[in-house]
């Protein structure tokens, strides 16, 4: 096939980037001084891009942190001294960082502070599909929601300016399909970093009630300006079509790309408002509403705009969306779901008579050290009628599936230990908490403190594979080998702290140690260590 268009040399400022990478690139070009994150799909690639950049050029400062809360607070410190900061996380990470996030909306932000949050509708790699737009609304700050990679770049650049203009953190909300798809992005001219500048007024950062009340009022006072910015923003485009009384569509963020995919087939073409910034442009929505008889709301995630449109009293016109049943209540949008909502026919696709296709769920790699730990745990627990194994978030969560069927819970980072304590205190025996090395550092240390303080009858099995495996083998924050000492420092008796290799030939040994510690009625910690097999492979390949 001959080339369809003449080959053109991409301009120097054009790059092929993931949505995540477009956010990172924009932050670098916006003169960010530091970027912080905890790895989490689908947001991981933001900081990975900044890390590669700073590895080459020495700036900006970039680092993985213990968890999203510490990452946020470190970014906040950068902002406090006048420089720009980026903090990145997956949607559930914002739960962890919610405390500093909500409160940082009240202080007088200095250097631009941008919070890049990647939501995961359809839960490709997450335990829920919460929508971060609610968080931005809750904190009373602005949220920008790009529709494509170019907007991910442009809006992140803009978010830093808005942050400094209003003295607020600004959320950039991505979804998985934007975070993890690539397109050409045109970068704008880079800006230099801000100079160091301590806050002019000390009382604008000390949230004593008397200050907080004043600062909260200030935040409420700038709300109309935020709304005004949304009304006038080019990102929110209103396109009124035909005579009044027709159909209208509101798209938000990535939903616009699915709408654009099919819009040429619609006759007459509906009036259309795209929303990319929040608080939503209410006047533009009212203008659309005056022109049409019904509005279809296409937004990925929860029905955030749809709920606002519906309110409590019945609106004057029909609102179609996730709440009316015109779109599924759960899961991400895609071009087909949007076609159906637009009453366009669906293409059938091909079919062949074929045997039933078995599902192929993700699974632990062959030779994974977690497999050996699960084998040892199964042995150690054999014979107990009511054993409970709580667990956590990481590759080892796959231990819930056959052939292991080794764990019984996965709720949120670090929950395994606290839940084990609760179950033990409720009277269950034996209880084992299984948690990975990085998850332990993220949120497992504080509940272990509770276990020790209460002398709870819990055995904690820390799976130390030296990396954050599930998200792509980022280094665990502290070097391997510290967990035994940490457990002892927290007060676990030294004779009940064990470090043992997770290896097929040590399964019986580990089972015996676990059995002994299960039978010890008090806190105990067993650390199973062996490097992640995938990380080891990569390390060896890099050394070649």
């Amino acid at each position: 096939m001959p080339p369809a268009v003449a080959a053109e040399k991409p301009r120097a400022q054009e790059m092929v980037l993931l949505g995540d990478e477009a956010v990172a690139r924009a932050a670098i070009d916006a003169g960010v001084s530091a970027a912080y994150a905890y790895p989490g799909t689908p947001a991981t690639e933001i900081l990975e891009y900044v890390l590669r950049h700073s590895g080459r050029f020495g700036r900006p400062h970039a680092a993985w942190c213990a968890n999203e809360k510490t990452a946020y607070e470190e970014a906040l410190g950068v902002s406090m001294v006048g420089r720009r900061a980026l903090v990145c996380m997956k949607h559930v990470g914002l739960n962890v960082a919610a405390d500093p996030f909500i409160n940082s909306a009240i202080v007088a932000i200095g250097g631009g502070l941008v919070v890049a949050v990647a939501d995961d509708p359809s839960m490709h790699s997450s335990q829920n599909e919460q929508d971060s737009r609610f968080y931005a609304d809750f904190a009373r700050v602005m949220c920008l929601e790009p529709a494509d990679q170019q907007q991910a770049y442009d809006m992140t650049r803009e978010a830093f300016d808005i942050s400094e203009r209003f003295g607020i953190p600004v959320v950039v909300r991505l979804v998985t399909r934007l975070a993890h798809s690539r397109a050409v992005v045109r970068a704008a001219e880079a800006r230099s970093e801000n100079a160091l500048a301590k806050p002019a007024a000390r009382d604008s950062w000390v949230l004593l009630p008397s200050n907080a009340r004043r600062l909260w009022k200030r935040l409420l006072e700038v709300q109309p300006q935020m709304r005004e910015l949304s009304e006038s923003s080019d990102h929110n485009r209103l396109d009124l079509r035909g005579k009044s009384g027709g159909a209208g569509v509101i798209t938000a963020g990535i939903a616009r790309t699915y709408f654009e995919e099919s819009v040429s087939e619609l006759d007459p073409r509906p009036s259309h408002l795209h929303v990319g910034t929040y608080p939503a442009p209410a006047d533009k929505i009212r203008q659309l509403a005056r022109h049409v008889r019904r509005i279809l709301v296409l937004e990925d995630g929860y029905p955030f705009l749809e709920r606002q449109l519906l309110g409590i009293l019945a609106p004057a016109l029909e609102i179609h969306g996730r709440m009316s049943g015109h779109l599924p209540a759960a899961g991400e949008l895609d071009p087909d779901i949007v076609r159906r909502a637009l009453s366009l026919p669906r293409s059938e696709g091909a079919s062949l008579p074929h045997p039933r296709l078995p599902a192929r769920p993700p699974q632990l790699c062959a030779g994974c050290p977690h497999g050996d730990s699960f084998a040892a745990l199964a042995k150690a627990l054999s014979g107990y009628e009511h054993a409970l194994v709580t667990s956590d978030i990481g590759c080892y969560t796959l231990g819930a599936l056959p052939p292991y069927s080794a764990i019984e819970s996965c709720v949120c980072m670090g929950a395994s230990i606290g839940m084990a304590k609760g179950a033990a205190e409720a009277g269950l025996f034996p209880v084992v908490a299984v948690i990975g090395d990085s998850t332990f550092l993220h949120s497992g240390v504080t509940p272990l403190m509770d276990v020790v303080a209460a002398g709870a009858d819990v055995t904690v099995l820390i799976l130390d594979n030296e990396v954050v495996a599930m998200t792509g083998a980022q280094p665990t924050l502290l070097p391997t080998g510290r967990f035994g000492a940490m457990a002892q420092a927290l007060g676990v008796a030294p004779e009940h702290v064990h470090v043992i290799e997770a290896h097929p030939r040590r399964v019986d040994d580990m089972a015996a140690v676990l059995r002994r510690e299960i039978e010890h009625h008090g806190p105990s910690v067993v650390v199973a260590t062996r490097e992640c097999i995938e990380a080891a492979k990569r390390r060896k390949a890099a050394a070649r």
Partner: protein, 194 residues
């Protein structure tokens, strides 16, 4: 002109890099490209699918609507069947016959291949044999790129140039094996497309 490609396989089989080779070629050719990938949990030995959209006009959605794909390229026969609902009326399915058996209920291979052979729009590629002939079992995915080239709006010369560039770091032996794999894949599908 548009060419929508679904790329399928199992986590660890290099589906993303396969997608990247074609995307890079298309960009060099001056086409608009959108490429959707799967990262994270699904990559652990599970079914993996990537959407790759090439066009001479800007592409809106990163996801391909069902029933409109021009081509499915699968590096594994079972995974090739999984996304048939995406295939357009004129579309072709190109799949390797090398099974990746990492689940207990994997169908009998002859049954699977017999099902695939019932359609003239399905083209089977013996990637294992061709990659061995090329001199590297690891070049199986380049066999698939070569086989797919007949359906792609990208010239073989541009893809070959990219393969040279992408593997240069690994030395000339690896470059040559991958180029041979690419050409063998191209040859074997010559008749299918003409």
């Amino acid at each position: 002109m548009k060419c929508d490609v679904i790329l399928a396989g199992v986590g660890g089989q290099g589906v993303l890099s396969l997608s990247t080779v074609i995307a890079a070629g298309a960009l060099k050719q001056g086409l608009h490209v959108k490429q959707s990938e799967v990262h994270g949990m699904a990559q652990r030995g599970g079914a993996v699918v990537a959407h790759l959209r090439l066009a001479d006009h800007p592409v809106a959605s990163a996801l391909i609507p069902r029933g409109t794909a021009d081509l499915i390229v699968s590096v594994e026969p079972l995974e090739g069947l999984r996304y048939l609902e995406y295939l357009g009326p004129q579309g072709a399915l190109l799949t390797s016959i090398e099974p990746m058996v990492n689940i207990p209920d994997y169908p009998e291979l002859p049954t699977l291949l017999a099902a695939l052979r019932t359609s003239s729009r399905v083209h089977l590629v013996d990637t294992g044999e061709l990659a061995r002939r090329a001199g590297s079992a690891r070049a199986a995915n380049m066999v698939m790129v070569g086989a797919a080239v007949h359906w792609l709006p990208v010239t073989p010369a541009i893809l070959e140039a990219y393969i040279r560039e992408a593997f240069a770091r690994k030395g000339d032996t690896v470059v040559q094996a991958n180029l041979r794999a690419f050409r063998l894949g191209m040859e074997v599908m010559e008749c299918a497309r003409s």
